[in-house]
Symmetry: C2
Subunit: 418 residues, 2 copies
Amino acid sequence: MAELVGNVLVGQSGGPTSVINASVAGVIAEALNHECIEEIYGAQNGVLGILQEDLIDLAAESQQQIRALKHTPGAALGTCRYKLKKQQDFERVLEVFKAHNIRYFFYIGGNDSQDTADKISKLAQQQNYELRVIGVPKTIDNDLPITDHTPGYASAVKYLATAVREVACDNEAMGQGDLVSIIEVMGRSAGWIAAGAALAKRRDHPHDPPHLILLPEIPFDQEKVVEDIRRVLKREKYCLIVVAEGLVDGDGNYVAADGATDAFGHATLGGAGDVLADILGQALPGVKFRVAKPGLLQRCGAHVASKTDVAEAYLAGQAAVEAAINGETDKMVTLLRGDGDQYTTETGLAPLADVANSVKKLPREWINEDGVSMNFQFIRYAQPLIQGEVVLPHDNGVPVFARLDKVRVDKVLPAYEV
Amino acid sequence: MAELVGNVLVGQSGGPTSVINASVAGVIAEALNHECIEEIYGAQNGVLGILQEDLIDLAAESQQQIRALKHTPGAALGTCRYKLKKQQDFERVLEVFKAHNIRYFFYIGGNDSQDTADKISKLAQQQNYELRVIGVPKTIDNDLPITDHTPGYASAVKYLATAVREVACDNEAMGQGDLVSIIEVMGRSAGWIAAGAALAKRRDHPHDPPHLILLPEIPFDQEKVVEDIRRVLKREKYCLIVVAEGLVDGDGNYVAADGATDAFGHATLGGAGDVLADILGQALPGVKFRVAKPGLLQRCGAHVASKTDVAEAYLAGQAAVEAAINGETDKMVTLLRGDGDQYTTETGLAPLADVANSVKKLPREWINEDGVSMNFQFIRYAQPLIQGEVVLPHDNGVPVFARLDKVRVDKVLPAYEV
């Protein structure tokens, strides 16, 4: 295989996570190992920055800041939900790549982003522009196919399981058989995150909170849930419910929908917890409902990130560069779980086309018969992912995160209207 | 002073915090030092448990569990919002104390609880029953008078300042001048907690988030806030707002009130963030609003507790016992700040009557002229309180908290109807 000499471009896309920057750090660290890579650029705000030729010189950042990326939440390069719409957009991306001799493109993102990367890769091939495109998986939603799990998921789940344990202490102290606590979590189409709350239960303590997990996979049955709550309140002092924002009713409609849609045509959601408290409160007079909606806090809770997750996000970034150097293109890095009793991870590769726009559902057989709790198969899957705690540097009592200098790469093309 | 031989009763009251159990641990540890103290009991669910003679034998708990109390959120003895209503209730409390030879009563709580403790103490004096009553301050609201600050406050603030730093990373990555993020925090009548978000700003970086802090002390002026947001969105990529649940309009009415009241006659609140997003969203078309409401998570976030706060809560528990042993009664332990440049704490005592039902307001002169940010006086006050991080024991990736055996003390009195 002929060595491909040129520059690297790494970009981040979609909703940030606690560990997406660790993948950037992995890309940079590995890129520095290879002589054929000349410059390491970052795309400011994903494809939006590429269209506008807003590139950052990552080699100009201090080692200190690159290292700090490993524990910095958000998306340090900036991200976007912009969808490349027309052929002209794709042409422009290639034009920018050619202008800056980008030969290695690493795109860190979820389903939509992998689709974008795939299309860019295909266009480059059509144009006979030698480009190696490797996707790096990222999403707290854990809904990418093929990969065993997705960097970002475990830290969101560790945040949630920790919160459930803590809120349980609070509720147990306050409840007199009349307290229902609802935590609304992210999860539009799949209940991966809500399911993760089950990790708060101690082994062999099925009655530990969360008492009910309301998943998008199981249509909301008001009468059954009211009965479930009554039973829990009788047995325990309180009832702790975790509900996914994407909870649907028997007709498949979101329990809480505001009718709007985002740039990708998905319905935007919010308020399943409040709607639930309202509905259930009417059915259970005298019971006090408390709703918490951690919102963005759950996807950027770097102070409670999973050490395993951080390491895997970093590893995925490194693996992307290695694969590209080895001549791979049009692939996404996957995480593979070893067969042994001890949890181990290796990386693999999957065609972008197989990943793009496909969704991995939470297996129905991992949900208990009761529809509101997870069985040992889910626990066996998820528990290894949240192991290990990170220690963040603090200044004056609050965590210190990376701040990139973002030295701009000179623009050489005319401006482009997005 | 004659030595008073008898038993200790410690109780917890009102909303739990991340460190209220550290005060229980302090009481127990110090009580063990004194020969005149024979038994150490806990009241199950505060005064409610006293009325029902539900007492726990704390000396029967393992050292391990008592030590674990130092980092366990919630209220391990159970708490209540029950208000002793009639003379008969107070008589019953004394009857229970006499039946179990309770000579030392430590009540850990906020304003209402200190009032309760005061009334119990006064009744004991009237009846010539020798009883030493010492209150231990507790409330995330930080609204107790005389004491420099209140155990529990700093950990809630550290939780919030950490969240603001993290959400800022997320928002900075996502915002394109069109993103407003609102975090709704507790604080019914005073903005102490919301103000604490200011600790997320770096020194000499006044433009750091939170960009606007909406306090109950400053009536909500829609036009001004809309203008403030416009200015921030122009300067930054996003606008991060922290709002106290008790935000009021120009007429002094809660911006978000549901009309209900709690057992003490306070209006119950919720949803200031959502109401705000709705109002501001109409005034700022095209701007995306995201609301987070950490709710209970902020008052039980033991994993991000302030080490200083934990130590002071423990110290306050110890000081309560020492004071009682020294013959003090009808007092609350206060925290006093040393005069030096280095932050130091000592404990003092204040009459319960002076503490009960009084509220410490956030000083107006600590709020900047703009009404939406805090000045150096507040920072100088609050910053030392959130210093230091705790390290919690973990099992399978989630924190492990104390679980008391709660060995019941035999009841000797007829049942009492509450």
